[in-house]
């Protein structure tokens, strides 16, 4: 029975292009949830210990199969394209703000970035990394990240994102910014002018 369950789970994972919840597998297989979770765990170990070309991963709240990164060069030659084009700095910044502040409006993104976020947000929408999430009280469209975002970034949930404090500017950077804001004038006045 348990070999059968593992076999069935492997087939179901193969057929699903999106991450699937363990509960959905339980419903489809008629097995108990805990049996499914155990079966998935044994499948994960099988791929890992037998050095298979596939990896079982927990993404966006569900389970999905992907290829092993070691096989990437051959996959690239076979499919003749990189899997996910990289993000431009503007797109990455916009995505970072949405990921951490969601739901967040476009004007708010622009305020934080100091520049317009129009084109970056459109591209992220088109690539389905972010989506609309209603409107703010002032009528501005709000954005949040999608499950595809979690999938592409290898995240099980948003909780797996590092604490935003991790990215706080180092104390010396903050001190330097403060310095520049308030004392640059004096510093220049006493220093030798010129670039």
């Amino acid at each position: 029975m348990s070999q059968d369950l593992e076999q069935t789970l492997e087939a179901l994972l193969f057929l699903s292009s999106e991450p699937v919840h363990a509960a959905v597998f339980a419903e489809a297989t008629g097995a108990e949830l805990h049996e499914v979770v155990t079966g998935l765990e044994r499948l994960r170990e099988h791929y890992e210990f037998e050095r298979r070309g596939l990896v079982l991963r927990e993404l966006a709240g569900g389970y999905a199969l992907s290829t092993h990164p070691d096989t990437e060069p051959a996959a690239r030659r076979l499919l003749a394209r990189p899997r996910t084009p990289p993000l431009t700095p503007a797109q990455a910044e916009t995505l970072a703000i949405v990921a951490y502040l969601q739901p967040v409006s476009r004007p708010e993104i622009a305020r934080i970035r100091g520049v317009n976020a129009e084109s970056a947000a459109s591209t992220l929408l088109e690539r389905e990394m972010i989506e609309e999430a209603g409107r703010s009280q002032f009528g501005a469209v709000l954005y949040r990240t999608t499950d595809l975002f979690l999938k592409l970034f290898g995240l099980g949930s948003l909780q797996e994102l590092p604490d935003i404090a991790t990215f706080d500017p180092a104390p010396e950077v903050e001190a330097e910014l403060r310095e520049r804001l308030l004392r640059a004038g004096e510093a220049r006045a006493s220093a030798i002018p010129g670039p």
């Binding site: 995505l95 910014l177 310095e179």
Partner: protein
Amino acid sequence: MRTPDANAGMRLVDLELDLDVFAGPFDLLLTLILREEIDLLEVDLAEIVIAYIDHLERRGELELEAATEFLVLIAALLELKSRLLLPGVEPEMIELDPGEAAEELLVRLLDAHRYRATAAYLQGRLASQSGHRFRSAPPPAALRRAVLPDATAVYDPAMLAAAIGGLLRIPEPVDVRHITVPKVTVAERLAHLRALLRRGGFSFDEAVARADRVTVAVTLFALLELHKRGEATWTQDEPFGDILIERPATVQAGRLTVAR
């Protein structure tokens, strides 16, 4: 990680300005503004932007980090200035002392830095995932075919009739007769207001009695023009109340003293 000299972000100090109210490096101007030694209202921010663009052109390269920082700073200045230009809207913001203004700019800069670092993390994370590919083939059609016996009634047929009813409705023809080409000009309204002023004070409601919305808007524009030229002054006792317009009580060397 960053030292006060020799890095890309610091190149902003190379930006030398020659403005009407100030000549010198950009960051000195910033400091003077924040200390209220120079009135932000007197600074032409567009000139600074043009100077910066010239500066970039001379350098022949766009340093992204420095450019972003410049944009953050100039945006913060613009916002401060626009608040100053709208007295009464947010009185507490005008009270912003130099320390607070600097603190606000600092918070902006720190946020910008923080999310730039987060962005770098996400880019790295995406790159590290690029070896994981997912199967995108649709499952075989035979397995997908919905099983009729499993299907239950979940939709209300009335929805279909309602949709058809909506589609049968012939829309009212759009009436465009009320749209007329506005013919009123600022010059005309200026003449109108000046005529009223010659008779003494008047109220804005009186000046635009029975006028259409476009005329009201153009009249307000003309009134702003009169105010700018020092030909008129106004009082408004409460928000959305009527505006009383008068000639300035005294005009001294082109400077205006508001009559109360």
